[in-house]
Symmetry: C2
Subunit: 213 residues, 2 copies
DNA sequence: TCAAAAGTGTTAATAGTACACCCATGA
DNA sequence: TCATGGGTGTACTATTAACACTTTTGA
């Protein structure tokens, strides 16, 4: 027997900052909240934790539901628990950063949920404290992308160095020298050139690379 | 009106990894759980979040209660939410790292709560997932201590470079060269020498330093 | 033939690491 | 006078930053 009974219980939600990369821009997946409070306002992908699932499972369930994707990269960012953060009822929210290949995203589901990819540098006001969640997630993404192969989750399997560089530039909000960037990559063990050539993006053709994940 | 009503509610707790520094060792504050489940097992400082307080306030309330200290340094580490993590009932726990000056800790309270400071490198098994919490908090402390003045919260107001170095060594679990350490400090803007001398720790006397917090 | 993106090296500056001796003092 | 911890500088290595031209090819 526990003596837990006298303590309050709370709704616990998971909110996902879903990042995608397209046209040289880092984007975040949003949708219009379909119910009150905040109906019609822009929101991250979120939902409540159920009894039989842990926090990460809840995030994965919501993502599968919303994007059609399983097996995405997710990482916990923080817990948000201000008393008044959700005007409907007190909700404690656990935030996850999620990286997906925007091309695999299910367009039909997008329509169904009023979903929209928004450039992270041009985000309007989102509901509740969701802007703050995006900021935190982006900061952590910036730290990860320099050290780890997480960029692989935002790009297609094969990609050019230019693609990868423009992703880094979008995440870090700074220009990077091409030669220094290529050299730093050549020192990473988790990325390698394939013998494939991309003829789409240039006349000359660019070597396609691949992450070892 | 919300449509939140059909979702489950959970107990939400805050667990604090309270770090202190004494005798050249990084220590964590533990106590014996006074009730089931896990009665008698070693536990971090924790408790349930109340309706009218946010997560950080809950942590501060628990700390004041348990250590007699307000105005401590606290930083959120992560949320732990595995379904079975607490065998009594499902509890979602938000973990905070807390840095205090071990000398200010209230010994009477310590007795009352069966509290004990344990060397972080010699921690026995703690209840539930508390060891994992300590590991995460310690990892983050290691990153912070190199870049920021957080060491100031673990030391007395005035301290010698030797003190500070031994703290860094305890946190990072590695020896540091004395000359390099002193040089790196001289490049930090947030620490400065006072004109006070500590005559306790050596015959010659050592300059006392102070953080600008 | 030329526009457009791919690819390529060198130098300078900075940060980090390794290392050994003298100093001041109280007991 | 000597044991103890305080305090100091230099050379080497590794990392990061700055910088410009040639290559390939389809239109």
């Amino acid at each position: 027997m526990t003596n837990y009974s006298s303590y309050p219980r709370f709704l616990v939600s998971v909110d996902c900052v879903v990042f995608g990369f397209e046209d040289g821009k880092l984007k975040v997946l949003t949708h219009k909240r379909p119910y009150e409070p905040g109906e019609g306002e822009l929101s991250l992908i979120g939902g409540f934790v159920e009894r039989d699932e842990n926090l990460e499972m809840a995030a994965r369930r919501l993502l599968l539901n919303f994007t059609g994707l399983d097996d995405v990269y997710i990482q916990q960012i923080a817990a948000f628990g201000d008393v008044e953060r959700d005007p409907g009822e007190r909700v404690i929210s656990i935030v996850y950063s999620v990286l997906i290949n925007i091309k695999w995203y299910d367009e039909e589901l997008a329509q169904k949920y009023n979903a929209e990819w928004i450039n992270v540098d041009e985000l309007p006001q989102l509901c509740f404290d969701h802007n703050e969640m995006v900021e935190k997630a982006r900061k952590i993404l910036g730290e990860s992308i320099k050290e780890t192969p997480v960029a692989g989750y935002l790009l297609p399997r094969y990609f050019t160095i230019s693609n990868l560089q423009s992703l880094h530039e979008a995440v870090l909000r700074q220009e990077i020298d091409k030669r220094n960037f290529r050299r730093s990559l050549s020192e990473k063990s988790y990325i390698h050139a394939t013998n494939l050539i991309d003829k789409m993006s240039s006349r000359r053709g660019a070597t396609l690379y691949e992450f070892d994940l």
